[in-house]
Amino acid sequence: MANDVRPRVKVPKSASAGETVTLKTLISHPMESGQRKDKEGNLIPRSIINRFTCEFNGQMVIDVTMEPAISTNPYFEFDATVAEAGEFKFTWYDDDGSVYEDKKPIAVS
């Protein structure tokens, strides 16, 4: 597992039914592209997060395939329409098999 990987998400605490809310996510990760060389000229192996998903009450909101050109600490901002109270589940999949998760509830008023 890459060092210092920490997911962060920002979700409003509540929304009105049917409202579109903006979600922000950020994960600290070096995103080593696999194309750089170290001082001795050896290739530094690729180590990136290759997939990011967001689900709401089990329903997929966004499913992103990530490629080596994506920068360090990938940041995603997207909208979701909230029909009912529930929980957003965010998942990041690392090349090395690690899975990072975060969950945030949202109330509907």
């Binding site: 950020l26 360090t72 940041y75």
Partner: protein, 288 residues
């Protein structure tokens, strides 16, 4: 303020709008909107120059020379990638290190207890009889009080800790002392600032006082203020310390650079910091 960057940006947008039918600025914040972090910390990004500074009437933070997109990254801590380093430093703050089995928190409690410290550094230290930068003070704490090893001057951990101390001082006016025992160092720094150096024979002032806001290749020259340091530079994708930036500038004049942490750079940091007296502490800032 005829030289402020915002006016130029507006003109540029005007040209773009005529061909691209606006759209580009649909969500972008008005570039003239002042910088307020998290909707609560008001940042002074331009103000009257301090009395000792004859070359400038108005001092401006580097923030004003960046594009609206880059500026916006500083309005919310979640969007500011430099805050990742601050979070790391908060963890380090509570981590016990060294033979005295102390962490920063053992003496200082919360980092917020040191709010205002960033604003007055570099500062004369009576006991050590030298001008100390924040980095030197942190290493002083580590070696003298914690019994821990000193960190490299520009080590990531060091820069992150400086970023944490800046973050808790944000919004406070920079106010470094240039008189008293620090004056000799300050004079030395001032002399360096105005001395041409390197194969290109450029002084700091040639770019940052005589030509700020003009383009250097594709980039706007700033006034070289350091109130926003450590700065998260998008091109480096990490926090950059003041002395690393100095080194880059001196290198660009094609001169042999001084080492980060050297007395020359400490003097220069004291002088450059004093040029920004009156601007708000802004670090960790976002720059390109």
């Amino acid at each position: 303020m005829t030289k402020q960057v915002t006016s130029k940006v507006l003109i540029a947008l005007g040209f773009a709008a005529s061909t691209l039918a606006i759209a580009t600025s649909a969500h972008a914040t008005d570039p003239t909107e002042p910088l307020v972090v998290n909707g609560e910390i008001e940042i002074v990004t331009h103000t009257a120059a301090p009395a000792h500074l004859e070359g400038l009437k108005t001092i401006q933070s580097g923030w004003e020379f960046r594009t609206p997109e880059t500026q916006d990254l500083q309005r919310d801590d979640f969007d500011n990638p430099g805050m990742i380093g601050v979070d790391n430093a908060r963890e380090a703050w509570n981590t016990v290190e060294g033979t005295a089995e102390k962490s920063c928190a053992s003496c200082h409690e919360a980092p917020e207890s040191l709010a205002g410290v960033r604003a007055v550094y570099p500062k004369w230290n009576d006991k050590a009889e030298e001008v100390r930068t924040l980095e030197m003070q942190i290493n002083g704490c580590r070696t003298e009080n914690m019994g821990a090893e000193a960190l490299d001057y520009t080590d990531n951990k060091m820069t992150e800790m400086v970023a944490l101390l800046s973050a808790v001082s944000r919004g406070m006016p920079v106010n470094v002392a240039i008189d008293g025992p620090a004056q000799a160092m300050w004079e030395k720094g001032k002399e360096m600032y105005y001395t041409r150096t390197g194969q290109l024979e450029l002084s700091c002032a040639n770019c940052h006082e005589d030509n700020y806001d003009n383009l250097i290749r594709a980039d706007h020259l700033s006034q070289g203020m350091i109130n926003g340091f450590p700065a998260y530079r998008l091109g480096d994708a990490k926090l950059i310390a003041v002395h690393t930036r100095f080194k880059g500038c001196v290198r660009d004049t094609r001169a042999e650079t001084y080492k980060p942490g050297s007395p020359e750079f400490v003097a220069l940091e004291l002088y450059v910091a004093s040029r920004g007296n009156g601007l708000s502490v802004e670090g960790p800032s976002v720059r390109n």
